[in-house]
């Protein structure tokens, strides 16, 4: 082949690539949502002279064309694979850990001193006025750090928890870190999700019982029921990587006695567990029907004790374990609650008083813990 001919051919290949994707792209319809990226995609911007002149129209249009580009998901996956080939061990804020573990990244600089101080101050009211116990759970990067990529940095939650202990005092602090660290080689965190497993929650429950001086209920580890074996959680969604599938387990003992739950004062249920989530991406929603502002639980244990839990999603698989200890449990997720916390606490408190528990993972506590005075 002559040089000229081969030049024509090579130009032809490049033109073909551009024209093929351009035409395919023009023929493709728009999508609202990307399942793989777990986000809304940009849609066609509305034209207006004003938007054109201030430059926002063309900027929005570029975002729209990029988001809606043909086979977007495949391109994204090509990029991810190339990155891994180039030696990257993190994708979209998720570490690609050993043994197919996906571990959420929390960089030290994301949690500066001022933030920690602000959040600690928010504990004053519940701790001083309600004698609340504070139970903060470390995230996977701190406990199964042996599975992190080499030298991967993480926010040191041991040091943070020592600060919390010092701030609220030994009597109000429940130590979970050490207990989880003892069991770090067990299946206490999901491989594809940022939550702890039911087994992790079980160890958390024991740590809680020890600190509270409660006799722990004899849950049978070998008798755990399997809800799902094909769970792929939030970290899988963020990376689209890893062959691992997680198993969702629960303790049947939590259903020994009839229980009644009222979600947000309207929906009534007779179980802690909602099987409808097992057919969706959000299988962790199985526990306590995903996220609700307020759950009121009536257990079958008539001991007159009431507990009020202020919590994040880590608590969802933990709370059923508390069943044998309380007659009533209120569960509040402040992210979805617009009322005033103290007013709610007073409204829920029975005449013989109630206990208050603040239960978060360290990261959610620093990022999300907040309430209206």
């Amino acid at each position: 082949m002559g040089e000229k001919k081969s030049a024509y051919l090579n130009i032809g290949v490049i033109c073909a690539i551009i024209l093929t994707f351009m035409i395919a792209d023009l023929m493709m319809g728009d999508r609202l949502y990307s399942e793989t990226e777990n986000r809304m995609l940009a849609s066609r911007p509305k034209f207006s002279l004003e938007a054109l002149l201030d430059g926002s129209y063309t900027a929005d249009y570029e975002a729209y064309v990029t988001d809606q580009f043909v086979s977007r998901d495949k391109w994204v996956s090509i990029k991810t694979r190339t990155e891994i080939l180039l030696g990257k061990t993190e994708v979209n804020g998720v570490y690609l850990g050993a043994r197919d573990y996906l571990i959420e990244q929390h960089l030290p600089q994301a949690y500066p001193e001022e933030l920690i101080e602000d959040k600690l101050k928010l504990l004053n009211m519940p701790v001083e006025k309600w004698d609340a116990k504070v139970m903060l759970i470390p995230t996977a990067d701190n406990i199964i750090s042996d599975k992190l990529p080499a030298y991967a940095p993480y926010f040191d939650q041991r040091m943070f928890l020592d600060r919390v202990r010092e701030y609220v005092g030994e009597d109000h602090y429940i130590e979970v870190y050490d207990k989880l660290a003892e069991h770090s080689q067990e299946y206490i965190y999901y491989q594809t999700d940022h939550h702890w497993t039911t087994l992790g929650a079980y160890y958390g429950y024991h740590a809680w019982a020890e600190d509270m001086g409660e006799e722990p209920f004899a849950y049978n580890l070998l008798g755990m029921e399997r809800a799902s074996e094909n769970f792929r959680g939030t970290l899988h969604s963020k990376t689209n990587l890893g062959k691992a599938r997680d198993t969702l387990l629960y303790f049947p003992e939590t259903e020994e006695r009839p229980v009644s739950l009222i979600y947000d004062k309207t929906i009534k249920r007779e179980r802690y567990y909602e099987e409808k989530y097992l057919d969706t991406k959000n299988q962790y929603g199985f526990f306590l029907d995903d996220n609700h502002a307020l759950v009121e639980i009536q257990t079958g244990y008539e001991n007159g004790r009431t507990l009020f839990v202020i919590k994040d999603s880590y608590a969802n698989c933990f709370i059923p374990l508390l069943t044998p200890h309380y007659e009533r449990i209120y569960v509040l997720d402040p992210r979805y609650f617009n009322g005033k916390l103290e007013a709610l606490l007073r409204a829920c408190e029975p005449e013989n008083g109630m206990e208050v528990l603040i239960l978060y993972n360290c990261i959610h506590f620093l990022e999300d813990f907040d309430y209206y005075e």
Partner: protein
């Protein structure tokens, strides 16, 4: 519109190219002008009028300067042309800087204009000034055809980030140019390589730099600070030279021969050499139109050193209206002067490696001035680099970033040397037989693959700035 975007690659570029190649001879310039105006207006819907004003103004000035060539009126119109160009540039780029300086005087309080900087204004005003000066010097004839002249000013490949084309470099091509298939192919290859430099290397390393410099600058160890500024050095090189490659490549496809802008600056063994290899179209502009006009080296050593100082202060300030850019220029002036005085001859007798390490050191410290705008952050960053902040040599995070970026940095380091170019050249010399086929096949496969990879990175880009758009 930036080259590394879906809108450019899959909308503007194919539609423009189809129209351009279908258009008959003299219509091509018209299509090029229309396309360029659309391209510019996409990003600057208002300031496109400013660019048109500049075009018409310089067109008329050119005619007048040409008409009065050799007479005193020519000088008047040249001065008027330069005043208009520098006036536009000064108003949009430097007014707030000057107001800020004036406000430093007690009792003076002028409110800032806070105008957004028109994209590419530093580039196209320099191009049009080169035209007026070239006409005045009689090096070229004034362009009588407004269309051809408008194409020179607004041409989209190099409009917004150079290379700064001096008028005499493409005078003839504005009217008649020929693009044979081989040249078009070279242009395509050049464009894709430039795109790869920008999208695969610059964006990746830029992300590292923005993470390092965006964090708490005062808490960087020696390792992290050097790693950060090295990543920035590679980012700005691949960003800017990638853009120049794309511009030159597009130019070739259209039949233009734009001047080269970079010649592997990071292998330089002296600062003088660095500036012969870095942003060549800007440094030759200052050389031709300022340094030599001031007398260059023909009026004695002390005058030459003053000239260097002036040119490098201007070079610094050209990059941005800020004291840090002035310092950056002066930093280079210092070493250029030292090299003129004795350092240059000293470096010549020392091994080349010494010169390279010294040059890298000057350049990297220079980038700290260049990129970190405030005196405070420059100070703390330098403190980190030289380990005087007491944070030690390295921490976990620094080692992690190094491990993460090792492959990209190695690719970048190889890409910043002529290694690949030279081996491709020697391979390309093979005239026939098996090796030649393998070589051609390699090029035929790798360029489309590189393009596909770039598309993947553009589609999933959270970070895609063009550094030189600010200038």
């Amino acid at each position: 519109m930036v080259f590394s975007s879906i809108v450019f690659l899959f909308r503007f570029l194919p539609i423009f190219m189809i129209c351009y190649f279908l258009a008959p001879g003299r219509m091509k310039n018209f299509i090029l002008l229309l396309g360029s105006l659309f391209f510019y207006a996409w990003g600057e819907p208002v300031y496109v009028l400013l660019m048109l004003f500049s075009t018409v103004s310089d067109y008329m000035h050119g005619l007048l300067i040409g008409h009065y060539h050799g007479r005193w009126q020519a000088k008047i119109f040249l001065i008027s042309s330069i005043v208009v160009n520098l006036g536009v540039l000064g108003f949009f780029k430097y007014a707030d800087f000057l107001i800020g300086l004036l406000n430093g005087i007690p009792g003076v309080e002028i409110s800032l204009l806070q105008l957004p900087l028109p994209i590419g204004i530093s580039f196209y005003t320099f191009q049009t000034m080169s035209y007026s000066i070239d006409v005045y010097r009689g090096e070229v004839k004034a362009q009588k055809n407004l269309l051809d002249f408008a194409v020179f000013v607004t041409m989209f490949p190099q409009l917004i980030a150079g290379p700064i084309v001096k008028y005499h470099q493409i005078d003839a091509q504005l009217h008649t140019r020929k693009a044979d298939v081989q040249q078009v192919y070279q242009g395509v290859v050049r464009f894709v390589i430039g795109l790869g430099k920008k999208v695969l290397l610059a964006n990746n390393l830029g992300l590292v730099w923005s993470q390092i410099s965006g964090g708490v600058v005062g808490e960087l160890t020696v390792l992290t600070s050097w790693l950060g500024i090295i990543c920035y050095a590679f980012q700005i090189y691949f960003d800017f030279s990638g853009y120049s490659d794309m511009a030159i490549g597009l130019g070739k496809v259209l039949g233009f021969h734009f001047p080269e802008n970079f010649n592997y600056p990071y292998i330089s063994a002296s600062v003088t050499e660095f500036w012969r290899r870095w942003h060549i179209s800007l440094s030759t502009w200052f050389r031709e139109y300022v340094y030599i006009t001031l007398g260059g080296n023909r009026k004695g050593l002390s005058r030459q050193l003053v000239n260097i100082l002036i040119v490098w202060m201007l070079t610094g300030i050209w990059h941005g209206a800020g004291v840090n850019f002035l310092l950056w220029g002066l930093w280079y002036a210092l070493f250029l002067i030292l090299e003129k005085l004795f350092l240059g001859s000293l470096l010549k007798v020392l091994p080349k490696t010494v010169g390279r390490i010294y040059t890298w050191f000057v350049v990297l410290v220079g980038w700290v001035f260049f990129e970190l705008q405030s005196a405070e952050s420059i100070g703390t960053y330098l403190a980190g680099m030289f380990g005087v902040n007491g944070l030690g040599w390295a921490d976990r995070q620094g080692v992690y970033v190094l491990l993460q970026q090792a492959v990209v940095l190695i690719i970048g380091a190889i890409g910043a040397t002529p290694l690949i170019k030279n081996s491709v050249k020697s391979l390309g010399k093979v005239e026939s037989g098996g090796p030649m086929l393998v070589f051609r096949l390699g090029a035929a496969v790798s360029i489309p693959l590189l393009l596909l990879l770039c598309i993947a990175y553009i589609v999933d880009a959270s970070y895609n700035p063009f550094l030189y758009f600010r200038f």
